[in-house]
């Protein structure tokens, strides 16, 4: 008892939605960025647990390291004059620097206007003294077996740091408490979290993601096929 003609709207809608979805592989990111600004008031109104903050937490081990201020130590060794072991308070007593920068992940998401506070690497390394053949910093994470490297020149970029505060608060656990590497010109996998040891070396060993095919020089927009 159908009235009037019937139309094959179903298949057209299916194909249309599928085609628009596939084409968004070309324009989705730009649209999302514009939409992100519009959705900001909504985002601020919702509890952070329910809404994506823009960040996502990539870990490689079954256990996320936890930070104990009393027992935590940062070891600096390798090609240095005096290997050092810094407590959290000793680290915080070093000259501090602040910056606002954008964080880019190699998988395609970004977070803008992240406020970091931490120590520039020259100020940190001055406590140990570099030897002549020092060339590379190897950052060893408490999250085993995560490790990555920066050349000294990269670590001396004006906005690279070992950060202990993020957006005005001590670095949260999921962001690498108590300290992580920040280097905004490179994709986030170079920003080792939960750093517990910095080894000064002459040549770079491949880091965790480099062993899995990612570029060692992870410049944003100029590496990893992006």
């Amino acid at each position: 008892m159908e009235r009037g003609e019937t139309r094959t709207y179903g298949r057209r809608a299916f194909l249309g939605v599928t085609a628009v979805g596939l084409s968004s592989l070309l324009w989705g990111r730009a649209a999302w960025r514009d939409l992100g600004g519009a959705a900001q008031p909504l985002e601020n109104a919702l509890p952070p647990a329910l809404f994506p903050t823009g960040w996502r937490i990539y870990t490689v081990a079954d256990h996320m390291p936890s930070f104990d201020r009393a027992t935590w130590r940062l070891r600096i060794d390798g090609l240095v004059g005096r290997p050092r072991t810094l407590s959290y308070d000793e680290l915080r007593a070093l000259p501090s620097a602040e910056q606002v920068s954008t964080f880019h992940c190699v998988t395609g998401w970004s977070v803008s206007n992240v406020h970091w506070r931490g120590v520039r690497f020259d100020d940190l390394l001055a406590t140990a003294g570099l030897r002549q053949d020092a060339n590379v910093l190897t950052f060893v994470s408490a999250e085993k077996p995560y490790v990555d490297t920066l050349t000294l020149a990269q670590a001396r970029l004006p906005d690279a740091m070992l950060a202990y505060e993020m957006d005005g608060r001590p670095l949260p656990r999921e962001h690498g408490a108590p300290v992580r590497v920040v280097i905004p010109d490179m994709y986030g996998y170079k920003g080792v979290k939960w750093v517990e040891r910095i080894s000064v070396d002459s040549v770079a060993e491949p880091g965790y993601w480099e062993q899995r095919g990612y570029d060692s020089d992870a410049w944003v927009g100029r590496s990893n096929g992006l």
């Binding site: 008892m1 159908e2 009235r3 009037g4 003609e5 019937t6 139309r7 094959t8 709207y9 179903g10 298949r11 809608a13 299916f14 939605v17 599928t18 979805g21 596939l22 968004s24 592989l25 070309l26 324009w27 989705g28 990111r29 649209a31 999302w32 952070p48 647990a49 329910l50 809404f51 994506p52 903050t53 960040w55 996502r56 937490i57 990539y58 870990t59 490689v60 081990a61 079954d62 256990h63 996320m64 190699v106 998988t107 395609g108 998401w109 949260p172 656990r173 999921e174 899995r212 095919g213 990893n224 096929g225 992006l226």
Partner: protein, 200 residues
Amino acid sequence: MASDRIERFTRTERAVHWVHATAFMTLLASGLTLWLPRLSELVARRPLVKAVHIDAAVAWLVALAVVVAVGDRRRLRETLRELDLFDDDDLLWLRRHPAPQGRFNAGQKVNAILTGAFAVLFAVSGTLLWLGERDHAFRFASTIVLHDGLTLVSLALFAGHLYLAVLHPATRHALRGITTGSVDRQWALVHHRKWARGRE
């Protein structure tokens, strides 16, 4: 006199529905854990959650293929035809005018069509994410935006679907149809008149 219940969904249709529903909920739970920082921190075992997510996705596609392979394909084709065709009553109904509906009302058709298209897009974007981790050639900056956007829209559709199937008094009887296969004839005559009338 006709019996008080009539068959609304075949076993094959119900199998497709519940395979998809189970997979969707598993993928949603594991996916949100991978996505939302608070949940990531709470669960903390990303490699395990990621493995669950990927295995569930593979199991979902395999199970759907198995249902289609061993199920009643003639009736499934008939279902697809029903979902494809929109008549004047469907268009009226979508504009919120009362109009008699078939076995699927127009809203259910739209939901099924979007679910189908999203399944394809989820599978494609998920496969690209998996491949991209292994080979630069498959890495696109917008893949994750598509996968996330689909998640948000699906979440809204899923919430509406759950409300109508479990809570809303007028429609929740439909849950019996998708679990047991049959529905009350009187209910069907009110909500799916054109279909129920044809089966008297």
